[in-house]
Symmetry: none
Subunit: 331 residues, 2 copies
């Protein structure tokens, strides 16, 4: 068996970076690079491919509607829900792609807004964690990304705000502040004890004083994150749903379609910002790219805590329609 790396492409990460720069940034042709470095063009191609696969270069495509296209939708959302602005992405069939498309727009929005003193509270969820991957910062800053919720070993990386924070800090520059506490604890007493802890307290205080917050909106489905993370059993989810809960903000604040907070087994057991805290943050960005979340989004909008809604075109339309019908039909 050949266990050792018998032959390696003899290029350091530095050289790969240089190569990638010349190709992608300076627009050299592969042929030119081949002559410059005295290897075959094929090899240059392979090295460039490797630079991508190793994450040395990332190429991201941002697709946004021409302004006027979404302007009407945005205006409607603003008028209807009192939010400050909307970030609306093009629709896409594939859920993963859709998330990336939306995340790209959110990343660009952050790139516009973040300054050297900015503090961003970061929630959890796939839509939130997809954002840092799409960041292409124009310049490095010295901003701060603070976890808005504690950690959890279940549910994968996407569910870990501190991972997302770190990636943000890496991309935009600045530091990340981890909330050194589990996301969820057994009971209220444990929570109170943790909240009294200095380290926890300090992190949370910084999060509360953030200039911006980036949070996800969730739905309540059998396979939702809540179940995957083991916070709810299937039965609990069903029970909660029967109470009229349609979604969550940040992954743990459950709401019904009128934006009212629901009483769930989680209340008082989560270490993180509450909806009340979010109210005091000047720009709360809520992102959701899945059509199943329309109910949750409507509820979230109606809580009045959201300043910027990031979602897809069709979801925005559906939410507006849903709101319309519920106003008309009563319920």
């Amino acid at each position: 068996m050949n266990t050792s790396i018998s032959r390696e492409l003899p290029m350091t990460a530095d050289e790969l970076t240089e190569l990638a720069k010349l190709y992608h940034i300076d627009g050299w042709t592969q042929e030119a690079l081949a002559q410059r470095f005295d290897v075959s063009r094929v090899k240059i191609g392979r090295l460039l491919k490797r630079a991508v696969s190793e994450g040395i270069v990332e190429i991201c495509v941002r697709l946004s509607h021409p302004p006027d296209r979404t302007a009407a939708l945005e205006q409607a959302l603003i008028a209807r829900f009192g939010i400050k602005r909307a970030i609306i992405s093009v629709d896409h069939r594939d859920a993963e792609r859709q998330r990336e498309l939306l995340a790209g727009l959110v990343a660009r929005y952050l790139d516009q807004r973040l300054g050297d003193t900015s503090v961003v509270a970061v929630g959890m969820g796939r839509n939130v964690s997809a954002v840092p991957r799409q960041v292409v910062a124009r310049q490095h800053r010295h901003c701060t990304f603070v976890c808005a919720i504690g950690g959890s070993y279940r549910g994968g990386e996407a569910m870990n705000a501190d991972q997302t924070c770190r990636r943000f800090a890496e991309r935009f520059g600045g530091e990340s502040v981890t909330l050194y506490a589990p996301a969820i604890v057994a009971n209220r007493d444990t929570r109170d004890a943790l909240m009294a802890n200095d380290t926890v307290r300090q992190s949370l205080t910084r999060a509360q004083q953030a200039d911006m917050a980036l949070v996800g909106v969730g739905d309540i489905l059998e396979d939702s994150n809540m179940v995957r993370m083991g916070w709810f059993t299937q039965e609990e989810i069903n029970a909660v749903r029967r109470l009229g809960v349609v979604g969550d903000i940040m992954g743990y604040d459950f709401i019904d379609m009128d934006g009212a907070l629901a009483d769930t087994p989680l209340v008082g057991r989560v270490i993180g910002l509450t909806i009340e805290h979010l109210r005091h943050i000047p720009d709360v960005i809520a992102t959701a790219s899945e059509p199943t979340k329309v109910g949750g989004i409507l509820g979230a909008l109606r809580t009045g805590t959201i300043d910027t809604l990031a979602t897809t075109e069709s979801i925005a339309e559906t939410v507006l329609g849903l709101d319309q019908s519920r106003r008309a039909g009563g319920d």
Copy 2:
């Protein structure tokens, strides 16, 4: 005059978006799109280009490693001054440490470049003499280090090219060639006599034929090397400065901020390579780590003899800014 938009590419912004999505996100080929929309492939290409120019799609490339400031700085320097490359160190408060940091990068660069037949002409100055100390050669070579200027007993070791040459030869392997002549003589006649000397002549000829040259850039301050070496009195320095001289290359070729050679009491009295000689050396590396030298560096760059500039990040930025302002403001 044709004021109206006579013929418009008959595609709405929406269709453009759709097109861009299919191409960039879903990976369709232009040919396929052409058939799908029943237009020529060329037109698809043009529409896609338009989608970019109208901001519907944004394609950004991120280099993860340091695509950092120094890469951008290097590009700017290359574009502005026509040099071949820049070696840029991070900033450091302490002048001595700064010199070492920069010298380390230069040493590494030499280590990359030097082959068995390489001949390097070596100038004088603290920045040059700091380089051999930083050398950690991957392997020994048989290259040659030739003094680009004669010797002098004043000013200390750093001012002695032959000392620096010997150290280089020690570290990289190979031999050093001393220029057996004083750096400066009383008058032109003496110089001419020395230049006629066989030994001197041979050394200088080898220096002229070098593949690379490593030279320092100096400033014109009261405590500069020139004074310390006794080549200039304080008054002479002041006089020269009043003529617009801002620095020197190699320690004796004085230049103003436009890169023009200045007439000083030294002209015709130095035994060493002139700027003209440098022009014929394929890779002239100029190093300078002191912020007081920005003017001199600008002048040096403008002489057009420099191929590789080694300096610090902040100096590089300042030089670019200085060049900018002088271009804009005239004079």
